[in-house]
Structure formats: structure tokens, C-alpha cells
């Protein structure tokens, strides 16, 4: 009986989630993902520099034109290089960056699995 209630609620949860969209403020998110090129390690959102102010205007324009986040990033990357975005692109050269952590996670999991199994066999003997 309890299990049935459990699954019922999970079902509602997923229904609710499917109907919602993420309430995040898009502009703010874009500003935070862009790097201020004339500052020492600050994003456009945090920087008070002239360059940051100009970029914000350009981003606002493009958002109002209906461009998506990715289009805006592609545009800025074409002008300033990949360094300007904080989220590394999902390109071939960045494959190692994105895959390696999960690879190690899985490798670690397998390692532990084998150790535990080995110790089970040790105990059995």
C-alpha cells in the first residue's frame, strides 16, 4: 500500500515537472557565462568595465531579436575566440575534458566492485 502511494506521488512529480519550464533569468545566465576580456578572471555579470557594459548591450539586443543562448555564444566566439565563454564547447577537442571525469567515475566504481567481490570470495574460502 505504501509503495503504491510512493509511486503515485512520483508520477505526479514528473507530470508537474514536464509542464514547467525553468524559471531562470536568461540574461543573467548569459552574462555569467561570458568572460570579461579586459579583467582578471571576472564574468561580464560581475565586471564594471566598459567592455562588459558594451557586451551587455549587444547581448540584450540579440535576446530581443529572439536569438537563442547558443546563437549568441557562437556569435561572440566567432568574434573573440573560445576564451570568452566559461562553459567549454562540446567540440571534439574538448571531448576529453567532458568525458574524462565520468570515465574515472565509472572506472572507480568498477574497481570498488571488484574489490568487494574479491573480498566476498576471500570470505567464502
Amino acid at each position: 500500500m505504501k509503495i503504491k502511494i510512493f509511486f503515485f506521488i512520483i508520477y505526479f512529480l514528473f507530470l508537474a515537472v514536464l509542464n514547467s519550464n525553468d524559471n531562470k533569468k536568461e540574461l543573467s545566465e548569459i552574462y555569467k557565462n561570458l568572460r570579461c576580456l579586459v579583467c582578471q578572471g571576472q564574468s561580464i555579470a560581475d565586471s564594471n568595465s566598459d567592455f562588459a557594459a558594451t557586451i551587455k548591450l549587444v547581448v540584450q539586443d540579440q535576446v530581443n531579436e529572439g536569438k537563442t543562448k547558443d546563437e549568441i555564444y557562437t556569435f561572440l566566439i566567432s568574434k573573440y575566440g573560445e576564451w570568452i565563454v566559461y562553459q567549454p564547447t562540446f567540440s571534439k577537442s574538448n571531448l576529453i575534458l567532458w568525458i574524462l571525469p565520468y570515465f574515472i567515475f565509472i572506472a572507480g566504481g568498477l574497481f570498488i566492485f571488484f574489490i568487494v567481490r574479491k573480498s566476498k570470495n576471500n570470505k567464502a574460502n
Partner: protein, 174 residues
């Protein structure tokens, strides 16, 4: 210690890592956009600073063998320092055309600036809010871009033009 494959692999990894760190110390850390040399400029429409009806766009630049696009402002001190090189280049009118884009400035101040120091530009455009500079990949003032008739960026000069870069440009446009 017995030599085994796993040990060799681990040692090699460590040596590789440390070598990269070592090399990393030698490289220049500062980012500039010079890696964008080779890309094309496109999609721009720049209004003349004193005349709203006059403007310049891609077709105009394709007519020139070389164009130097120079972003400047009356409030920018290094812009005064580089001005003499621009004037000198403006004498090479057959080979290179120079476009000045007045960045985040007031028309009256820009005109006075050019009256005082001389006007090396074939066309003076305005970029009052700075947005045009972004479409050229500019991030500081002064900054200049040299393009050819296919609108490919051949050279980027970040900061004021100095003697070395001036001579470089002369060499390119010969």
C-alpha cells in the same frame, strides 16, 4: 622495486604532467584575439559621423585592396600617440584606405580631435554605444584591423600603433 607496466605508466604520466607544467610557465598568459586573424568581417553598417544619410558597408570595402579600420576616441590618450602613423598611412591612398570609427564619443569632441591632430580617414563612422566594435571583435581602444579586398582580417593591432607595427603594415600593403 619490481619494474612493472603499471609503474611505468604511472611514472610516464607524472613526467608528462610535470613537463606540461614546466612548458606552461614559459608561455604567455595574456589572451589577445590575434588568433582570429584569417576570419572574415561581415554584416556591418556604419553611419558617417556628421551625416546620417551616408554610410559604409561590405561592398564599399571590397573596392579597396586594403582597408585599415581604426577605432579611436577623443578621450583616449594613446589614440593621440598613434595618430601620426595613421596620417603617414593616409599618404598611401592608392594602396590602403583608412576608416576611422569613433567609439563612445560625442560628435563635437571627435570633430575637434580631428581638427587638432589632422584627419587621416577616408571615412569617419560613429559607434556611439560601442556595439559596432563588438561585431569587429574589438575589446579596447585604440584597436585597428587590417583587411584585404575579400574582407579577411590580415592583421590585428591591439593598442596604439607603434613604429614596428607601422612598418609591418607598410610591408604588407606593398
Amino acid at each position: 622495486m619490481k619494474i612493472s607496466i603499471s609503474k611505468i605508466i604511472i611514472f610516464s604520466f607524472i613526467i608528462f604532467f610535470l613537463s606540461v607544467f614546466w612548458l606552461g610557465l614559459k608561455i604567455d598568459n595574456n589572451y589577445d584575439t590575434k588568433s582570429l586573424i584569417g576570419s572574415k568581417i561581415s554584416n556591418f553598417h556604419i553611419t558617417e559621423i556628421n551625416n546620417e544619410n551616408q554610410y559604409i558597408s561590405e561592398e564599399d570595402l571590397r573596392k579597396n585592396k586594403y582597408t585599415l579600420i581604426n577605432f579611436f576616441a577623443s578621450w583616449c590618450a594613446p589614440c593621440r600617440a598613434e595618430h601620426k602613423y595613421l596620417l603617414s598611412l593616409s599618404n598611401q591612398n592608392k594602396r590602403i584606405k583608412i576608416i576611422g570609427i569613433n567609439f563612445k564619443d560625442k560628435k563635437i569632441n571627435a570633430n575637434n580631435f580631428l581638427k587638432d591632430l589632422g584627419n587621416p580617414y577616408n571615412f569617419v563612422g560613429k559607434d556611439t554605444d560601442g556595439k559596432i566594435s563588438i561585431s569587429f571583435g574589438i575589446y579596447g581602444i585604440p584597436e585597428s584591423i587590417l583587411v584585404n579586398n575579400e574582407l579577411t582580417v590580415i592583421k590585428k593591432i591591439i593598442g596604439p600603433i607603434d613604429q614596428v607595427q607601422f612598418e609591418d603594415v607598410l610591408k604588407i600593403i606593398q
